[in-house]
Symmetry: C2
């Protein structure tokens, strides 16, 4: 039996504590599976004395996480500090320079600096692993990079942020307002005090950029992701979605088109009979479409100590077993720089809700604008008439180009009888 | 760049032809992903001249598949012949003896001889890979063996036979009889002329035994799987299931209990709000429950040329990349011989349908038998009364031991007013 694989853990928050627990509780079984013992030998965190429900006395303590990168007896540095820059990046680079593998759960780091770090890991002959960075416990990186490696994938999409999905599910099932559910999430610790990363779609965009790179063999290109969050979703839109046969989900969608790579994160109306419509609460799901395999759907917990520790552990076991795959599935130098398709060139169907003060001729004005932008209406819904009060007018339109749609909406917003900013939600047939 | 990986393919049916197509169409990309070229150099099949939609002229032809095992320039033998014994087994063993890796889609072979073959592969220092043997294109073996390797899994279950799921879906959605849908399947080529392997649950049992071994680190034990098929499922039971809030699915379920390993394949009533209830048509799905990760669901096409070729290709790419994992996740000598739990010790809820000639006192007789066997009734449903004609009486019972339930059913069957064999379908809460 080989030498033990020695691990240093930087960051002992929920996930770090979960990983320590996993490795100590399951050490015997891990040794059998990996063919060698897996031992945590050093740790670092902000506060040595914090209560974490684990005993860190057996591990060498380092106040400075950067020390972990230079320890002689360490094979793998597990980076659980977070943040796209700063100490997480410095530590990762220092670990590579010292010939150590890095396992991380840090989606921001991989999304922003994945390509450069992949080059550095390759030059050092070590692994840079990040299964935990995307979709928590779902082994989606391994599935795309290895399990579906025989395919040309043309689309990958999913529910990538559990907080948003929890909020949208609660809004849909309980008819509640966004702000109300968000406040509850913050109280329960499901959402951060500053929830912007989650609810504005940035976290999902980090994950999507990573998925797209692995799925299509392209350079990670986070800056090219079109990002919208869920702040403007209202119970009224939820209700109209239901009536039209849809659910509203925040999706990340990456697809290969003839003219390049489209990457977008925004609320979508998805048909109620698709698997993705039924992924509820804080669950995540990822769907991959390939030429030979067809469509594969994976669903599971997208966050939390246990699922994330499971993913980190899988990466560690791979390293212990000696399994090495290029960071994004192909050598860093052979990743393609796929041209990004700007959102204005996206085509799709749309749901539009206008708040209209009912005056003669308003609908004629609206439809004229749509016609002028070559946008073809599919259905229109005007429930109540309340003279003097604004009422919702809901339209769905057939496939149109985003540029036409946004142009039309700008003009429509300027019509006198339209009293609020028009709401637009894209319809995905999937 | 390393030497090309050289492949011999034995068996050129749908899957074999699909694999040849995948490897030739995608050769450039595979070479980038694998870090070396992947080349088919030799093939063997029953009929050299059969029309397969592929050109086999570039490959050395061998009438005898066993020749593939001794070719000097071959690294991997792909066994797509099928059957648990005979030529498939002989070829696999011969390949190992000659130091060649084997990739197979043959579930019967792995279920019956997996342990012995794993020992032989290990002794020869080669891989024995079978991703395509379970759930077609879903990379479930890799997910369990690597992606979830940090977990102690306690249950794995799923829809493992696409033919059965197609039949049950059509029966449920169209109210049709089993025999009618089966005949259609046979006409369309979805079911074999002798459909027994599929519809009697044997194919699903093969796959379940393999999944259980990988999930729990135990020796494959196909003989211990309790197997029932779907021949006796009727539209009437489908309809009652719907009314009770269930769908009927053929599931394979393997779970670890305090007293050992339970493995069973049989029709189940599953709550309509579970993901598994919505897996329709010929799709497969596998669910794994782990201590750290929670529940992971994977869904996709369970058969067909493309999906199966995708899985075979993934195994080949792993070999080309130099990734080696023990056949069932732990070295063959360390697989546990987990005690099988006989089906009579299973506990669960049950649906029972009796055809009863309505006579005073019949229900009293039935309930007395249940009471005597300590089986507690949850609900009873008797729709129509038609004097002289048998009418269905449907009952659901609370959690009971299988032995009690079967004992009770035997006695109930002997009651004079019961005119057909009582039908029993197990209810899984999942």
């Amino acid at each position: 039996m080989s030498e033990p694989l020695k691990i240093a853990v930087a960051g002992l928050g929920t996930v770090g504590a979960g990983l320590v627990r996993l490795i100590s509780e399951r050490s015997e079984d891990l040794e059998i599976r990996a063919g060698r013992a897996i031992e945590i030998t050093a740790v670092s965190a902000r506060d040595r004395t914090a209560e974490r429900g684990i005993d860190i006395a057996p591990y060498a303590w380092h106040d400075d996480p950067l020390h972990l990168a230079v320890l002689d007896d360490i094979d793998v540095v597990v980076e659980l500090i977070g943040g796209s820059d700063g100490i997480a990046k410095t530590l990762t680079e220092a670990a590579f320079e010292n010939g150590k593998h890095v396992v991380t759960a840090n989606k921001a780091l991989v999304a922003h600096h994945g390509l450069g770090l992949a080059h550095k890991a390759e030059a050092a002959g070590v692994s840079f692993s990040y299964e935990a960075a995307v979709a928590g416990g779902i082994p989606i990186i391994k599935s795309l990079r290895e399990g579906l490696a025989g395919n040309s994938l043309h689309r990958v999409y999913g529910i990538l942020n559990g907080t948003c999905n929890y909020i949208l599910t609660a809004m849909s099932e309980q008819g509640r307002e966004f702000e109300d559910v968000l406040a509850e999430c913050q109280k329960l610790g499901y959402a951060e005090a500053d929830p912007s990363f989650d609810i504005d779609g940035i976290d999902a965009a980090h994950k999507l950029a990573i998925l797209a790179s692995v799925a299509f063999g392209g350079e990670v290109n986070f800056d090219a992701v079109h990002v919208e969050g869920i702040r403007h979703i209202s119970p009224m839109d939820m209700q109209f979605a239901e009536e039209l046969g849809y659910r509203i989900k925040l999706l990340g969608i990456a697809s290969i088109r003839a003219d390049g790579l489209e990457q977008r994160v925004h609320p979508c109306m998805v048909p109620v009979d698709t698997p993705i419509a039924h992924v509820s609460g804080s669950l995540n799901a990822v769907v991959a479409d390939g030429d030979f395999v067809g469509t594969i759907v994976q669903e599971g917990p997208g966050a939390g100590a246990g699922p994330t520790a499971s993913a980190v552990a899988a990466d560690i076991i791979d390293i212990a077993r000696g399994l090495r795959v290029p960071t994004f599935g192909v050598p860093a130098g052979q990743l393609k720089a796929i041209a990004p398709v700007p959102m204005q060139r996206h085509t799709g169907a749309y749901y539009i809700r206008l708040m209209v003060v009912d005056k003669p001729g308003v609908l004629a004005d609206i439809t004229a604008v749509l016609r002028d932008h070559a946008v073809s209406m599919e259905s229109v819904l005007q429930r109540t008439r309340d003279p003097g009060e604004p009422v919702p007018v809901v339209m769905t339109v057939h496939e149109a180009e985003e540029a036409s749609m946004t142009g039309a909406l700008e003009e429509i917003a300027a019509i006198g009888a339209i009293v609020e900013t028009p709401r637009m939600i894209r319809i995905e047939s999937l």
